[in-house]
Symmetry: C2
Subunit: 326 residues, 2 copies
């Protein structure tokens, strides 16, 4: 447990395309209070920072003021830890390179760090969750896309440019791979994200003729949640969609193990909560495909952070590592 | 440059299946003197250590004695840095887990570290070669097999168990992949090692009917050197073998970049010396396959260490990091 009597709190800000959520967090990972603003409303980033600060400052005051805050951590798409910038984020209203950490630091006088969502999730897991005490693990976030945060020797891997850890974009199908949102083909994300599961469902329904509850839903409307609901009801085709997805993910995880030999791989996000439907085939494919020397060594875990809190907690955890502004 | 006036030298020992080579190295990476013993002659590891020490001690004395040596670094197949052990090395005469670093330390009273050959090569490159000043790079050794040494934040990645960095065993062909020596199918090593190039030659010669200088060599005797010699003479088929090999390697490197976003990838070993025949297709496939955010950022380099010296230099470089025995 972190102990810091003079500055016992950190602030976490999670910036999403739709909402930005922020909260004040203590050393045990309890969110003492929180708030949110709509991200898309603010065309100018200055107005956005104003709005967040206007809502955040009363919360900070209620917990004893700015002097109680050790640091602010921000999780944001396309966030660069080294520069504290958001760079060319397609789903945010501000274009180009935005020096967001610096803006908050100047505005509030609190040291501020920024990284992408998946790296923030990894720091959160290491500080408050399933990776406490671990020095080597990989966090895989299975949401609309597939993200990753890699920790080696107790440090998040940022790479030489601050953008390392894009495991959603390793190629899992070299031939006839699915088109990915990144413009390439066959990426892990095109198969093992929530949207990937929905695409697999549509493919299976066209290619096969066996009956399925999913045939009651208009093809273009099928979401991964529908596949899960059908699987729970015993739908064979839906269960096989998860087996297919889990198998591909497990194969990729085996390659990741060859890279950094982590103590654990931690899955996070909607798909990870599909329980045994996804976890069993992932575990099976991981063990079947991993190099002999690693067999039986890598734990496959599910995140211990509550989904609703995880983004703010993850971002906040960055705050503990910050030094006071001189 | 490392400066250590009192203990200006390190010892490097490279243990191969056939020969073990050792040398005394200064801070500039000059091998002051060296020697070797046959590895396979010594059934008992105690006798092996005796033989190395008997040959090494006169060299140490000639450079001023044990007190001039900062540390000993050993590069060995299946070497584990954490425990200083060689574990179940198939090509060495000693079975099971061998506490080799400890044996040398007790015998000579000099602190000793041990790691696998590819990790040692990476440390050597960082200390004396193309990676000086770099904190994030990946070393790929293209020899009989394919090995790797990964450096992140200036530290070699050993993983939670000491065996990280097995990039020769990521899967590059998920379907109809070639059998690999590790017992699995489709590994990078099965394609991009010297033996992989020879296998590709045999496959090409059977599958195609165009003429080639390689048809003058009995199929089973073709080695990667023959392919190189033919390529130099303008043999189209031989050149295409390198293009095929380089393309596969470049595709894999693009995935490695997504993992750790290194400043450079450094190729080492026989194949890397096939010059443009291999480097051009590697560079092309790397740039074509890498995620947009990394395009044009990763340098592709050839090792600056002389082949004959590299193994001893790499191993010796570990010695600089060692602390005196208390």
């Amino acid at each position: 447990m972190i102990s810091n009597m003079e500055k016992p709190y950190v602030v976490g800000i999670d910036i999403g395309g739709t909402n930005s959520v922020f909260g004040i967090v203590d050393t045990r990972g309890t969110i003492l209070c929180s708030g949110s603003v709509k991200t898309q409303v603010y065309d100018k980033v200055e107005e956005y920072v104003d709005a967040v600060c206007k809502n955040l400052l009363p919360l900070i005051e209620s917990e004893g003021g700015v002097e109680k805050i050790k640091g602010i951590g921000i999780g944001a798409p396309n966030g660069n830890y080294y520069s504290g910038t958001i760079e060319f984020a397609p789903n945010l209203p501000w274009k180009g390179i935005i020096h967001l950490a610096e803006m908050f630091e100047q505005r509030l006088g609190i040291p501020t760090a920024l990284t992408n969502d998946a790296n923030a999730a990894a720091v959160g897991e290491m500080t408050y969750g399933a990776a406490r005490g671990m020095k080597d693990f990989i966090m895989i976030t299975l949401g609309t896309g597939v993200g990753s945060g890699i920790v080696i020797n107790g440090q998040v891997v940022y790479g030489h440019d601050g953008f390392a850890g894009e495991l959603g974009h390793v190629i899992v199908r070299r031939e006839n791979g699915r088109m990915c949102g990144c413009g390439r083909k066959g990426c892990l994300e095109a198969y093992c994200s929530a949207t990937g599961v929905a695409r697999t469902a549509r493919e299976f329904l066209v290619a096969r003729s066996d009956k399925s509850l999913l045939r009651n839903i208009p093809s273009e409307e099928i979401a991964s949640k529908d596949v899960y609901d059908a699987a729970v009801k015993g739908d064979k085709l839906a269960q096989e969609i998860f087996e297919f997805t889990g198998h591909l993910l497990g194969e990729s995880l085996a390659d990741f193990v060859a890279f950094s030999s982590p103590e654990a791989i931690i899955l996070f996000g909607g798909l990870a909560k599909s329980g045994d439907f996804i976890m069993k085939p992932v575990q099976k494919a991981l063990e079947e495909n991993v190099l002999n020397v690693f067999k039986g060594k890598t734990k496959l875990l599910i995140s211990e952070l509550k989904d609703s809190d995880a983004a703010v907690l993850g971002a906040s955890a960055l705050g503990w590592e910050l030094k006071d502004i001189k």
